[in-house]
């Protein structure tokens, strides 16, 4: 594979080709006491930045390095456990 990539213009998958967390104007903050573990935020996050960690108490975690702050998660949450807080 590495030999071929010298001849052909091949790219390889890599997480975080740019730090998109800096684009964010509003930050999603999860109120874990309200969370009903429905996983809708994980399903609807366009960036794959919400992770489900079943072993942890928090259950869902946001990767703020790459979250663009679009707010889709806050909008689809059925119990409104996610609030969008302005950055800075």
């Amino acid at each position: 594979m590495s030999e071929i990539s010298h001849i052909l213009p091949l790219s390889k998958p890599k997480e975080g080709i740019s730090r998109t967390g800096t684009w964010r104007l509003k930050k999603p903050v999860i109120d874990h006491s309200k969370c009903v573990k429905c996983m809708m935020c994980w399903l609807h996050c366009p960036e794959s930045t919400i992770d489900v960690v079943e072993s942890s108490d928090k259950f869902v975690e946001v990767n703020y390095d790459f979250c663009k702050g679009c707010g889709v998660c806050a909008n689809v949450c059925p119990v409104k456990a996610i609030s969008m807080v302005p950055e800075g």
């Binding site: 213009p9 790219s11 390889k12 998958p13 890599k14 997480e15 975080g16 080709i17 740019s18 730090r19 998109t20 684009w23 429905c38 996983m39 809708m40 399903l43 609807h44 366009p46 960036e47 794959s48 930045t49 489900v52 990767n63 390095d65 790459f66 663009k68 702050g69 679009c70 707010g71 889709v72 806050a74 909008n75 689809v76 969008m84």
Partner: protein, 297 residues
Amino acid sequence: MVGGISIRELPRKKYLLPGNPSCPGCPEALGLRYLGMALGDRVILVVPAGCSTVIEGLAPNYSMRFPIVNVPFASADAVASGVAAAKEVLGEDAVVVVWAGDGATADIGFATLSGAAERGDNIIHICVDNEAYMNTGIQRSSLTPYGAWTTTTWTGKKERKKDVPLIMLMHKVPYVATASVGYPMDFIEKLRRAVLIKGFKYIHLHAPCPTGWRFDPSLTVEVAKLAVETGMWILFEAVNGKVKISPPSLPYRDRSRRKPIRDYIKIQGRFRTLTDEELKKLESMVDDVWDTLTKFT
């Protein structure tokens, strides 16, 4: 649990990687995630020019875990046919998916799409319909709806939206379906059903684009759901030419149960030039599409 699939059973592997250069609230990014959840590692993507090419990012890295062939605009389905044939000869298990925008499906790439459908090549063509050429700066396409503003239709488009799913149905292909990013389980189910069928499969994915449609990025899913609830977008599935309206769209066969189209129009900036007369015309067009479709059920 929605339909036959449980949300907890969906694979957690990330097929669209964080840090990709898509706009906030991008529906295509959502669609790519659902594609990964539905079909996983078997997918080989063929991507013509469009927003998806941008979402991949710049060499030497890219932000998806699918093998991708980037091709010129009009050749996508022809390339996919070749890839599928090669994989069949080699005896490898792969699902060749053409991930094309509305321009690459209905306008520029239509010749090869129609050709591949006629030959019955074993590929899935997914049209990600964001209803304009978003990648180059919101120019009108033949899938832009009536009355919508784009940078080339300042006073609103005067022509109607081309009904590509029905055109594909008339090619007599074994599988045609429409889906929406607002109904992920429906889309995943349709992909999993399509992959079991040998031959040409066509799925039309409705994808509301916050940048081009002029709405807040947090509303992507809400706008997609409103399109279905107002009857502007109809979810259906046709196996071997038999049309079946999908469960999310089923209540809206009855005109009185649909939400007013004004609800859908007013949250989008692209319909700001629409007059009441034009709205009535748009409403009659929606009824017309429903009438035509229900004739096939």
